[in-house]
C-alpha cells in the first residue's frame, strides 16, 4: 500500500519539546536519527581507542602494555563496538533521517518503536562496558572475554562473567536492529508519497530495504545461538559441548549464518550512499538503476548461503566445500556489476571532486582491492594457508573501512548541509579525506605481507621478523586514529555555523532517481511534510 500521508490530523505548527524530554521521549525521525548518529560517533572513538591500544601493543614484539587476555578482550570488543555500535547505528541514523524525507513520508511508520530501537543501544553499550570491567570488579570474575567477536565455544564457555554481559549486549543490540529493520521496511512499503513507486525510490532507500530484510532474517539466528551459549554456560545444556553430545561446530555454522550476511548489512547502506553521491557529482543519472537494484537483491540472497567459507579449515565434506567456494566466488558478479555501474555513471560525466565524491571514488578503488583478496580467500587450498593470519585482517579491513565506513563518511559530508543548514568547510573535508585514505593504506596494506609471511591474528606477541611491517602498520594506525579528531572538528564547526546551505546544496543532486529530501529547506522543519507531496 502506498498511501497519501500527512502529519496527524490536528496538526498545528508546534516545535519540538524542550530539554531532555525532546530526546528521551522523541518519536521524531530526525531527532532519533541525530541520536543514532551521535551515538555512533561516540562509539567510533570508543572502538577507535581500543584499536589504538592494539596497534600500540603490536608496535614491537613482546608484551608491552597489558596482559594477553586483555589484548584479546580488546580485539573482541573493538570488533563488537565497531560493527554493532558504530557502523550499524550510523547507517540506521542516516536511514532515520533520510528515508522518510526521500519517500515523502511525514515520519517512520512506527515512531514509538523507533524510540525503543534507539534507546536499547545505550543499554547495550553499558553491557559491553560491563563485560570489559566485570572480570576486574567481581571477586570471581574469571578471565576477560578473549574469544574474538565470533565468541566460539568451547573457549566462550570457559571465560568469566564478562561473557554473560557480552551475550546480554548482543541480545539488546539484536532486538534493537530487528525492531529498526521492521520499522524501516514497513515505512518503505507503506509510507511512500503518491507517485513514489518502488522503481522511483533513491538507491539508498532500496539498499536499506534489503539491509532490513537481511537483518530480520539473520539477526534472530545470532540471538538464538548466543542464548544457547548462555544455556550451555549456566543451565546444564550441551548444545555446543561435545562431552554432552553437542557440537561446537554447530555454533560456528550459526554464528557465520549471521556473520556473513552481516558483512552485507554493513556494506549495502554505503552502496546506497554511493548511488546518490556518484550521480550527483558526475551530473548524470545513475547508470543501470534497475540492474543495481537487482544486483543488491542478488547480493543479499547470495550472501545468505555462503557462510561456511569462514570455516574451511574445520574439515567439511568435499561437496560442501566446493559449494561454498563456488558460491562465494559468484558474489563477485553482483559486486562487480555495481562497481562497473558506478564507473559508467562517471564516464563522460561533468565531474567535480567535493569530499563525498572523493570518498566515493576511493571506495570503488579500495573496495575492489578487498574483492581481489576476497577471491583469494574464497579458494579453499589458498585459504588453508591464509586462514587465521593477518592477511584476513587486512582483507576485511579493506572491505569494511572503504566499503562501509568511507561510505558513511561520504554520506555525512553529502548530507551535513541538509542536516545542519550549514555548508561544511570543503578544504578541511578534503584534508580529512587524504589524511584518512593515506593513513588507512599505511595501516592495512603491510598486514597483507605479514599474513602471507605467516603472522597469526589475535596474537599479542610475534616473532621478530614481523617487526618492520608491524611498526609501519602501527604508525599508519595512529595517524588514522588522529585524523578522526579532524572529522569531529569539522562536524562541530558545521553544526555551530558556516555558510548557509540552500535547500539543494549540490548542483546535480536531483538528477535521475533522487528523493524528495531536496524539496525541503536546509535544515528541514521539525515536521517534514505537512501535506503529502506528489511525485510525477
Amino acid at each position: 500500500m502506498s498511501g497519501a500521508v500527512t502529519a496527524h490530523d490536528d496538526h498545528h505548527d508546534h516545535g519540538p519539546p524542550k530539554g531532555w524530554q525532546r530526546w528521551l521521549y522523541s518519536t521524531n525521525h530526525k531527532d532519533i536519527g541525530t541520536m543514532y548518529l551521535f551515538f555512533s560517533l561516540f562509539m567510533l572513538f570508543f572502538g577507535g581507542a581500543m584499536a589504538m591500544y592494539i596497534r600500540a601493543e603490536l608496535f614491537m614484539p613482546g608484551v608491552q602494555l597489558a596482559s594477553p587476555n586483555f589484548y584479546n578482550n580488546m580485539v573482541t570488543d573493538h570488533a563488537l563496538v565497531m560493527v554493532f555500535g558504530m557502523v550499524m547505528p550510523a547507517a540506521a541514523g542516516m536511514a532515520n533521517w533520510m528515508i522518510p524525507m526521500m519517500i515523502g513520508a511525514p515520519d517512520m511508520a512506527l515512531p514509538r518503536l523507533n524510540n525503543l530501537s534507539f534507546w536499547l543501544l545505550p543499554a547495550a553499550a553499558l553491557m559491553l562496558v560491563l563485560s570489559i570491567v566485570a572480570p576486574y570488579i567481581f571477586p570471581n570474575g574469571g578471565t576477560p572475554v578473549n574469544t574474538g567477536w565470533t565468541l566460539l565455544p568451547p573457549l566462550s564457555k570457559q571465560v568469566g562473567i564478562g561473557m554473560d554481559f557480552t551475550i546480554f549486549a548482543i541480545h539488546l543490540l539484536g532486538v534493537s536492529s530487528i525492531l529498526a529493520s521492521i520499522n524501516i521496511v514497513t515505512t518503505i512499503l507503506n509510507m511512500r508519497a503518491p507517485g513514489m513507486t518502488l522503481m522511483k525510490m533513491p538507491l539508498f532507500v532500496w539498499s536499506w530495504f534489503f539491509t532490513g530484510l537481511l537483518l530480520i532474517a539473520v539477526m534472530p539466528v545470532l540471538a538464538g545461538a548466543v542464548t544457547m551459549l548462555l544455556f550451555d554456560r549456566h543451565f546444564g545444556t550441551s548444545f555446543f559441548d561435545a562431552a554432552g553430545g553437542g557440537d561446537p561446530i554447530l555454533f560456528q555454522h550459526l554464528f557465520w549464518f549471521f556473520g556473513h550476511p552481516e558483512v552485507y548489512v554493513l556494506l549495502l547502506p554505503s552502496i546506497g550512499v554511493l548511488g546518490l553521491v556518484i550521480p550527483t557529482f558526475s551530473r548524470k543519472p545513475l547508470f543501470g538503476y534497475k540492474s543495481l537494484v537487482w544486483g543488491m537483491a542478488f547480493l543479499a540472497a547470495l550472501g545468505m548461503v555462503v557462510w561456511a567459507h569462514h570455516q574451511y579449515t574445520i574439515g567439511m565434506s568435499l561437496a560442501a566445500t566446493n559449494y561454498f567456494m563456488i558460491g562465494t566466488i559468484l558474489i563477485s558478479i553482483p559486486v562487480g556489476l555495481m562497481l562497473l555501474n558506478f564507473i559508467f555513471t562517471m564516464w563522460r560525466g561533468s565531474m567535480t571532486f567535493e569530499t563525498p565524491m572523493l570518498f566515493g571514488i576511493a571506495i570503488i578503488l579500495m573496495f575492489s582491492f578487498a574483492g581481489v583478496t576476497g577471491v583469494m580467500l574464497a579458494v579453499v587450498p589458498a585459504d588453508m594457508q591464509y586462514h587465521d593470519t593477518m592477511f584476513v585482517v587486512a582483507h576485511f579491513h579493506y572491505a569494511l573501512i572503504p566499503g562501509a565506513v568511507f561510505g558513511l563518511y561520504a554520506g555525512v559530508f553529502y548530507w551535513l548541509p541538509k542536516w545542519t543548514g550549514h555548508m561544511y568547510d570543503e578544504r578541511l573535508g578534503k584534508i580529512f579525506f587524504w589524511w584518512t585514505t593515506i593513513s588507512f593504506n599505511i595501516t592495512f596494506f603491510p598486514q597483507h605481507f605479514l599474513g602471507l609471511a605467516g603472522m597469526p591474528r589475535r596474537i599479542v606477541d610475534y616473532s621478530v621478523q614481523y617487526t618492520d611491517f608491524n611498526m609501519i602498520s602501527s604508525i599508519g594506525g595512529f595517524l588514522f586514529g588522529l585524523s578522526h579528531l579532524l572529522f569531529l572538528y569539522i562536524i562541530i564547526k558545521t553544526i555551530r555555523g558556516g555558510e548557509k546551505a540552500p535547500a539543494k546544496p549540490w548542483e546535480g543532486a536531483q538528477i535521475g532517481t533522487a528523493g524528495l529530501e531536496w524539496t525541503l529547506p536546509s535544515p528541514p522543519p521539525f515536521h517534514s511534510f505537512t501535506e503529502a507531496p506528489v511525485v510525477r
Binding site: 500500500m1 498511501g3 497519501a4 500521508v5 500527512t6 496527524h8 490530523d9 511508520a109 512506527l110 518503536l113 530487528i178 529493520s181 521492521i182 520499522n183 521496511v185 514497513t186 512499503l189 507503506n190 509510507m191 530480520i216 532474517a217 539473520v218 539477526m219 534472530p220 539466528v221 540471538a223 538464538g224 545461538a225 542464548t227 544457547m228 548444545f239 553430545g245 553437542g246 557440537d247 561446530i249 554447530l250 555454522h253 550459526l254 561456511a308 574445520i314 567439511m316 565434506s317 561437496a319 560442501a320 503529502a532
Partner: protein, 45 residues
C-alpha cells in the same frame, strides 16, 4: 489525511510489522529448537 485513512494506514503498518516480527521470531525458534537436531553432526557428515 482524514481520521479513517489514518486508522487504515496505522493498521496496515501494524500488519506488515507483525508479519516481519513473526518471521524474526520463527528465526529464533528454528535456531533454538530445530537446528541442533539436524546439524549436531556438523554439516556434510
Amino acid at each position: 489525511m482524514d481520521k479513517r485513512d489514518h486508522e487504515k494506514l496505522r493498521k496496515a503498518n501494524l500488519r506488515v510489522a507483525l508479519i516481519l516480527g513473526a518471521i524474526a521470531l520463527l528465526g529464533v525458534l528454528y535456531t533454538f529448537l530445530y537446528l541442533p537436531k539436524v546439524m549436531s553432526g556438523g554439516l556434510g557428515e
